[in-house]
Symmetry: C2
Subunit: 534 residues, 2 copies
């Protein structure tokens, strides 16, 4: 099992520890507000090219692997991470302040996600093969033989998130889907959890070596501030970018990618307030469980989930008053959890200060501060729908357990809200589907929200993202930079592919995917009709 | 049948002729270098909002049409264009200088393309439905019910090309695929063929009316210069852009779209020199037919095809010398055709001047000028591979029948060429597949070129794009702004879609595509397995 010692650690360029010339960093234990763990050297931008060049060279081999070979590699990577799980979780707990059960769940998710993408790679559905054989007798012109296949874009730069040190970090969804697609990955380590990243990076590098793949299939690079990240996006060998983080960080990367001589796709997941729309019918019965469920969703992981609720719309009237009061009660019994970094904590405190100072906004309730450093109390505020619609700042995300209750007087006001909001990862409706009046409004609201979100839920909470074939974790700007995609689930593999057609190419020059013999036993389309693999 | 008279014509905003306040334009007959046909009023940017607002309102109805209803509308549009075909072709001949057989073929392609997208819309494969039913007993957490469907992005702005006044214009591929996806279209008319555009626009508008669809499903707008186009891309109601034209025009639209508060996808097809690689084995036998085939591909439509060959690599030695000589002979018997506009003709003449003045470049041969105005002689130049690799300007597109023959001494040099070129729509290999030595080089070259092109051909000519299920008309930048897509063929519908997931949404609130009953009889994925429609 890998263990971090007191020695100094480095970027893993094509599997090789590579001392950086850009200074060093140590992790901060946010619970103690103190440095912890070993030193990590930071790469200078002049050193980055070694990683991108290795990725570029590895690409020519890695992209041609058979589905089985790629799946086997991803499975080994998953197993290596699982094997190092105890040390990874212990390190992540110290570096992020996240509690053990949460990190155990996240480790399982990360491992299963790699195994899921191994299955995707093995099946090969993502090759999207389409074949139209030649029709020499067609009039007025013969039809050529045409065979289409999706090919990988090239080396991908991935930037991990602070809030998921495993599932959205070194071996997270972007890495898994890029590797499954056939793209080498250069991962920019998050300096908020350098040790966690090192352990996971070692596990992937070991899997690369064990399968005799070129080392450049995966590199982990530490860098100071944003310089190395920007240089990575500018590097001509990099052909796509995955990012999870702030709106400012994501839009900066978009600008850099668009300004390249050859612009490249950027998949940045950025900002979402995940509105919840509570209908009267949802409040007619038992309200305590609903209020408690809401506070649990709000306060879990200190509110540091991309899908945490930042806005909840509650009807005026006695039932709504009671629900809000019960939210206050549940909140009073809740305590703050340690936030990921002192910087994130201070941004959250400032965000709450700004919110509470806006005219027409008042406090519903607060919990207690947590016992550690950087553990502010969860808090809920309230305003009315008119104030909300007239105050754009009220739609801005506060990353942390702070939520705004917006009281509305008529369900039709929710339409104006839905049509006015920016793009979101999720929206949620709470209602009694048997209630005829609500059903009419809900039907329209669902259709409006469909244009604004990646995922729409009824009678649930947006936190908790099931990794599978049907999930969408995405949405229109600014939820992401590219709403045509998802960062979670099997569809994510399509981010890193593009179509190529082969016309009248002799069998000996055709890639396996489009050969008549179908050696990889792929599901393919023949003259527009699916032909299922057996 | 629609006929243009002497009266003045206008933009068709949601089907209604709308006089513009931005001046007027008339077509130029490039064969005579003289104005022709009626006047068309140009919209001021202040008038554009009527079209985008109508598109936005139409979207809420149009996007929910059943597959059959959308297919029926597209089929009617195809039939109306077919019915007006004689007048459309006569008008296009005068406005573009293109000959009748070419325009007859293009009309058939345009009509068939609309019918093909009607079929795509009817099948509904593009909804990409993925369903994972709830697993309440799953451990450690129950699985929610998740249902994914691809939804249309919203109103699309389309900019047509001058060189395909039908197949890449008002009712061209971008319009057809956007309408099939469920997106209303605001089409910016090309001022080089305003009458052709008017007739086709009338046909589509009639189809919209006949099917009782909101008029905003389709608008045709005339504008002065680039102002209206830029305002269209900036309009917040527009959610994607399709463009075919120059690299300068395409990159300007990309910049405008990226600078919006909400950036949107741009699909611009721009620039390609479509390299052809001739192997020794292809020259061992009969060379005359090959040389004649090449000159026909080069000179067809006056070289004004996106896939026209601009570069051809020919081995040194006697066979290669003879092939080049035969190209000269075939060229000497060829005449120039009328180009689309005086501006395009003058750019082509300047491009040839610049090419011929580069050190190390010499002329292979020229044809005769055409009998009309704006009909320069087709011309072929030559240089050696070292000069080519050291002179980046030699890779720039000259829009028109001008081609550069690059002589190489060793097939391995082609690898350096393939790795160095920019993104292309096509690349072509000519070889004898039975030749073992060539097969080895070709296999590597195919893999290098796969990273640079959208379509790879063997022993054919890149001009001629078959519209079907397997074609790719796209490629990495600068061939297009977004290599993840194609502008021709059924895959193009995916440009205008994005995924949405419904989680635990009651049946009554689910869209038809993901309902258990599968009322639209779609092919869907259930737990990751395709379930074919019957």
């Amino acid at each position: 099992m890998s263990t971090l010692t007191d020695s100094t650690y480095h970027s893993l360029i094509a599997g090789t520890p590579t001392p950086g010339n850009g200074g060093t960093v140590r992790a901060i234990d946010p619970a103690a507000d103190a440095e912890t763990g070993p030193e990590f050297t930071l790469l200078g931008t002049d050193q980055l090219q070694a990683a991108t060049q290795a990725a570029s060279e590895a690409f020519s081999v890695y992209r041609r692997l058979s589905p089985e070979a790629r799946a086997a590699f991803l499975t080994t990577a998953a197993e290596k991470i699982q094997a190092a799980g105890e040390e990874i979780i212990a390190t992540a707990m110290t570096e992020t302040g996240l509690p053990e059960p949460r990190l155990q769940g996240e480790l399982a998710r990360t491992v299963n996600q790699l195994k899921l993408f191994a299955k995707v790679a093995a099946t090969g559905d993502h090759f999207g093969v389409r074949i139209e054989p030649a029709l020499p007798e067609r009039k007025p012109l013969p039809r050529p033989d045409l065979r289409q296949v999706q090919v990988p874009l090239g080396p991908v730069a991935v930037f991990g998130a602070s809030n998921f040190p495993l599932a959205f970090s070194v071996a997270g969804g972007d890495t898994a889907s890029a590797l499954a697609a056939g793209c080498p990955v250069v991962f920019k380590a998050h300096n908020a959890h350098p040790g966690t990243g090192q352990l996971v990076g070692q596990a992937i590098s070991e899997a690369v070596a064990e399968h005799n793949l070129p080392g450049g299939v995966f590199s982990l690079v530490y860098g100071p501030g944003t310089k190395v990240g920007q240089a990575l996006v500018e590097d001509p060998r990099i052909k796509a970018v995955g990012f999870t983080g702030s709106r400012g960080g994501g839009t900066a990367i978009m600008a850099t990618a668009n300004a390249r001589p050859e612009p490249i796709p950027v998949y940045a997941e950025m900002s979402s307030v995940n509105p919840i729309f509570v209908f009267s019918s949802a409040l007619a019965g038992e309200r305590t469980a609903l209020a408690e469920g809401f506070v649990t969703s709000l306060n879990g992981s200190a509110g540091q989930l991309c899908t945490a609720p930042g806005l909840i719309f509650v009807p005026e009237g006695a039932d709504g008053d009671d629900f809000v009061a019960q939210v206050g009660t549940a909140l009073a019994e809740a305590s703050g959890f340690t936030m990921l970094t002192p910087g994130i904590c201070s941004a959250r405190i400032n965000g709450e200060k700004k919110l509470s100072s806006i005219a027409g906004v008042s406090q519903v309730g607060r919990g207690a501060e947590g016992a550690t450093e950087n553990a502010p109390a969860p808090a809920v505020y309230t305003t009315d729908v008119a104030t909300f619609l007239n105050t754009p700042e009220l739609s801005e995300e506060i990353f942390g357990a702070v939520c705004l209750v917006v009281r509305y007087s008529a369900p039709e006001q929710l339409t104006a809200v839905a049509q006015g909001i920016e793009g979101q990862l999720t929206a949620t409706l709470h209602l009694n589907p048997e209630d005829d009046a609500d059903a009419v409004v809900a039907r329209d609201l669902v259709q409006d929200l469909e244009l604004k979100v990646g995922r729409l839920l009824v009678n649930g909470w947006p936190t908790g993202v099931d990794v599978g074939d049907a999930i969408v974790h995405g949405g229109p700007f600014p939820a992401t930079s590219d709403g045509r995609s998802t960062s979670v689930g099997t569809l994510a593999i399509h981010r890193f592919l593009r179509p190529v057609a082969f016309q009248n190419v002799p069998a000996a020059l055709l890639p396996e995917q489009v050969q008549d013999e179908n050696p990889w036993k792929l599901t393919r389309r023949l003259d527009g009709q699916y032909q299922l693999a057996d």
